[in-house]
Amino acid sequence: NHVAAVFSDAQKSNTGHRKLVINLRKIQEACCYEPLSSKKKQAEYDNDEDEFNTEVVRCVLRVLPIKKSETVGDRIVKFLGIFLRVASEKDNQLVADHDGALPETPTSRLTNAILNTLLQLLSTKDKIVRFRATQISAHIINTLDTLDDQMFHLLRLALLKRIHDKESSVRMHAIYGLSRLAAELDEDQQDEDSDDDDASSGVLEKLLNVLQNDPSAEVRRALLLNLPLTPTTLPYLLERARDLDAATRRALYARLLPALGDFRHLSLTHREKLLRWGLRDRDETVRKATARLFRERWIEDCAALPAATAPEEETEDGKKKPSVTKVADPSLEALLELLERIDVANSGNTGGVALEAMSEFWDGRPDYREYVSFDSEAFWDEISPESVFVARTFNDYCRAKDAQGDGRLLDMLEMKMPEVTKFGFLLEIQINRLIECVRGAASGGPDGDGDEEMEEESVQREFIVEQMLHMAISFDYSDEVGRRKMFGLMREALTMPELPEESTRLAVETLRLVCGDDRSDKGESDFCGIVLEAIAEVHDTIMGDEADKTKSSTGEESFHSARSEVSNDGSASRSKKSRRSNNDDGEEEDDDEEKAIREIMVNMKCLHIAQCMLQNIQCELEQTVHLVTMLNNLVIPAVRSQEAPIRERGLVCLGLCCLLGKNLAQENIELFLHCFARGHASLQTIALQIITDILTTHPSLLAPVASSGHGDETSATISATEPSPLLKPVLKTFSKSLKSEDVDVQSTGASALSKLMLSQLIIDPDLLKGLVIAFFDPETSNNASLKQALTYFLPVYCHSRAANAERMATIATGVIGRLAALREAFIEDEDVEESEMVTLSVVGGMLVDWTDPRKVIGSSEEAKTGKLKVEEGAAPDSDMIHFVLAEQILEKLVTSQTSKDERKVLFSMLSKLHLAVSSPDPGLLRTVLELVAEAIESKVASDATSRNALTKIQTTLLKLMHDIATAERGGHG
């Protein structure tokens, strides 16, 4: 039999396929076409054709039971595809003269015969047959240009059933076939809106549904790469940028998006999100693919000349052919457009993704690094948010490389950048333009509504100044002329009330830098002095204006008036914009209101400058007279203000002052605790942060204090101590924060506790338990900050210190008990799905893992593997942690009432403990052994698995006991 022989050869390798296809075609032609066109013999040939088709189908059937892992199966499938394509091409050539609809040919009949057979087998019970049948059908669909309408319809129905197959491999091929059908239906839709319309949207809709919901990442990935790219599918495809599976995300960034065509057709939101998600992905390969997309494809869309944009060419397996089109020459205009297209005025701000994008850009585009230059007059004359961002990120990049030891880029930067003094003048021009603009926008148009254009421009000007200040902060100020220029400029800038907040912050930082540090001169105190002067001036400037207008000039010293009487007017809390509201109105009431608002503004501005300053100093507060004055005249009154924004800012300043003086901290920590107890959510968050920072900076505040009989400082009195009186209220505050309804308060509380626990300032087991429960509690499922902070913290905490892990062991059964109760209550709630809360067994597994003695840094196990050298004799104390856990679990089982679920988890935890240590503590060993015996006796283990766990642990412990006894006898003997 010749046909079977051809198939037999075809399975051996792909290389012979060409020849075998010709062979098989010859057989087919011999069977189906008459050598002489005599009609009488037609019947005979039909008979031969039937035989040929039956034989091919028979061979196809032989492939069906072949396992997925056998390559011979795939070879035959491939061979069959090639044959059908070649054969149908040849058929069509033979009948090409007959125009009109495609006629039936021997090969189309063969195809139908094969597909008809496979159709029956798509719902076979055996999964391998189902897999092969689906694979072959899908492959034929994707290989052939045309299919019989009837067949098309049947295949669609049959494959649609398979997109929810149990086997992911079947689903893969079902969608592979259907994607092609969907694409075709989609094309049809263009010219005829018949029934196919429904069919098309039906298939596509189902496929998109699978794209979002299929549990197998492989299936989702296959769909991602095979679905047609249309406006309907695009949002679904782009959504996969956040797919759970890294390879799927990578496929989107490395394959789909580069093939998508001009990125400018994407919406601004999509561009920004794709860039942000991709560059900050958890997986490095995704980050790299995104970086390449940005600096190699997107820039080309902006830079390529129309002639250079060749149509996208792709080979079948999705790999790009070596690009024929030359990379476009570097162009500043293109780069500016690219930045505009990613809305750099927004995405270029602190925390925006444009910074990372440009860092990757410079890293991968040496041609652009060579090309750019920033020392021409024209560049700075025509400065725009985009162009200044190019300069700023280039500066950042070169300096970062320099810090990593690559000095060549710094030389290059110096060649391209104006020198510091010159930069100072350029920055001065930009600051002045910004101030003008802010004033213009504030004074408003003829109707006093504010000038929208001016306002928009001032946003841009603000961005430019911020970027230049970022650059200024990175400069080297060893050149005295340049340093003085910048010093003067910053001092001047800070006195301008119109300078926006972010610029102010950066100006303060720049000033701190140019003042120098304390080692060479009195940098810090100079800095304080200058900033305080600026605060006074800002205050006088604004209030002076006001004084002229209301003719109630106060001769008071600036800070005293800064204290202000805002507290008298609670109704005046208005947004900043209202400051621009009608000035000329003669009504007295409006005048008062205007004044109150103005006072709030002044206070906010002064407090902001003070806050920026306090963030940049480290001196002892009490030894710096200026600062004490500021504290008393500006900060304290603000803290007492009735206006919430002022009070909050005042509290932050007070908190910062407390970091500079322990006495002040001690006096005020009660206040912050009170703020937490009584405040609303945002105040609570601030209070938590301040309390945490204070405790971190002044750890002695929580240290035990000598009790009564105030001691001579000898070691004898050490025993007579009691806990710091602060401890209890502090613990209570944090405990409350974890139970807060507000996500910010809750997550701030959790990360604050993480810090304090890692530094051993808080070692309270109840709070640790609170953290663990908050971590697993379904109530916190919407609090990603909290979850992710604790995901990081809990293992780090336990594995960094044996004492921490032991503490975790002591609360473990309490955690299980509490979560068992929570879960029971959770499941009873009808509105939720059970799967939304972790199972107890997962919790148990994590607790066992966190307390695993082998994972603790410095454990004897770790020492054995050579990761860490433990000093000889310094026995690590981590070995016994699981004994502690065993004791806890057994204790619980023996003494308390436990639910069935709870017991099950406890026993399963027991069976996972690592107890085979070299030198156990005999006392604890004996205790645990006694508890095991008690547990066995009291029959708490109700099923075989649990009883086995107990027996197993008993055997292990008895052996340890025996070893100890032997060692002792050996030692004595």
């Binding site: 079977a4 022989a5 198939f7 037999s8 399975q11 061979c59 059937l61 032989r62 492939v63 069906l64 039971p65 072949i66 011979v72 719902s123 076979t124 019970k125 055996d126 047959v129 059933k161 929810h164 197959d165 149990k166 919901n213 299929d214 549990p215 989702r220 959504e239 956040r242 759970l244 900050r280 958890r282 701190r512 540090d517 963030q615 940049n616 932050v652 908190g655 970091l659 942060q689 301040i690 945490t692 920072d693 971190t696 900076t697 701030t748 990360s751 604050a752 993480s754 810090k755 890692l758 530094s759 990603a784 900050s785 979850k787 992710q788 902070a789 990081y792 780090v796 799905e833 939304e836």
Partner: protein, 85 residues
């Protein structure tokens, strides 16, 4: 288990015998349809994923977050005096 795996490695490359006639075993395999579509499909509950198989928002929490002050993010914790700009 070990002898089985070594045997597998030594095994001749797999070949399909296209000449063989249809036997009962193959016929059974091919022509036993599933009792119902449900038995060869995913359970319905797996047709929908509550998260659409998407990652949660990344907060990019790192050790750095544990090592800095809330109020003075630039200064490292516990090193007040040495934390020069």
């Amino acid at each position: 288990a070990t002898p089985a795996t070594t045997k597998k490695k030594d095994k001749e490359p797999f070949e399909i015998d296209f000449m063989s006639p249809m036997n009962q075993q193959l016929a059974d395999l091919l022509y036993t349809p599933a009792p119902s579509n449900a038995t060869i499909s995913l359970p319905k509950k797996d047709w929908k994923s509550k998260t659409r198989n998407l990652l949660p928002d990344d907060k990019h929490f790192s050790s750095r977050d544990l090592l800095r002050l809330f109020l003075k993010p630039k200064a490292r914790m516990g090193s007040r005096k040495s934390a020069q700009q």
